[in-house]
């Protein structure tokens, strides 16, 4: 079965650079979530989208932005990168008809040097 696809899987950027992470949800899933997991930390909710509209916002820095496109894929844009942004970024998706089952991608590792 198709899963949540994230790209790239690994990314190395320098401080003050910009990074973009992409997420392709499971087909027919209309809701996308972004989470950030720092080293040795639990995943922290960043932002979510339902039917291409932002639906919830968590601890997402102002330097970050995200959107969901017409094909339901989502992109997380991170600017003015800081060392502390180094983390594993998860995308997850669910269907509004069964929102309580949230499927996670394998994550994108961002290293800021």
């Amino acid at each position: 079965a198709a899963g949540v696809i994230q790209s790239p899987r690994h990314l190395i950027k320098e401080k003050r650079e910009t990074a973009t992470l992409k997420c392709y949800p499971i087909p027919r899933h209309d809701t996308v979530y972004w989470y950030q997991q720092g080293p040795g930390q639990d995943p922290q909710f960043l932002i979510s989208f339902y039917e291409k509209m932002q639906s919830d916002k968590g601890s997402i820095p102002d330097r970050f932005s995200a959107q969901q496109f017409s094909d339901y894929h989502s992109e997380l844009n991170m600017s003015s990168l800081e060392l502390g942004d180094s983390a594993l970024y998860f995308c997850a998706s669910s269907s509004s008809s069964q929102w309580n089952t949230i499927y996670f991608g394998e994550g994108s590792w961002l290293t800021v040097v």
Binding site: Q41, D42, S55, D56, G58, S94, N100, Y103, F104
Partner: protein, 117 residues
């Protein structure tokens, strides 16, 4: 606001022994509860979930969890563990009455289960 506490950061256990990973939550409203497993360098995989109904929930890989409302707990158990169960386990809670169409998860800090031969 909700929060999740996983009381043990590390749990070592011998192969074929039983294990219990503890999870307590706090919320002013009813909640949905989840356990996720994260293998090294991989994403989060849903083990099981409690939404309503029977308080004993069975999940994948032989795991089960029991919802105890009076103790606000949702401990994860397995009667006999395997080496392959070595992973990080996260308890999570979602507020079914939260605003918006997407209901995000609040995770606990995780418990590293290490199964020893």
């Amino acid at each position: 606001a909700q929060s999740v506490t996983q009381l043990d950061s590390q749990v070592p256990v011998f192969e074929e022994a039983p294990v219990e990973l503890r999870c307590n939550y706090s919320s002013s409203v009813s909640v949905y509860l989840f356990w996720y497993v994260q293998y090294p360098n991989q994403g989060l995989q849903l083990l099981l979930k409690y939404l309503s109904g029977s308080t004993l929930v069975k999940g994948i890989n032989g795991f089960e969890a029991e919802f105890n409302k009076s103790q606000t707990s949702f401990h994860l158990r397995k009667p006999s563990v395997h080496i392959s169960d070595t992973a990080e386990y996260f308890c999570a809670v979602s507020d079914p009455i939260s605003s918006g169409s997407a209901r995000q998860l609040t995770f606990g800090s995780g418990t590293q289960l290490t199964v020893l031969p």
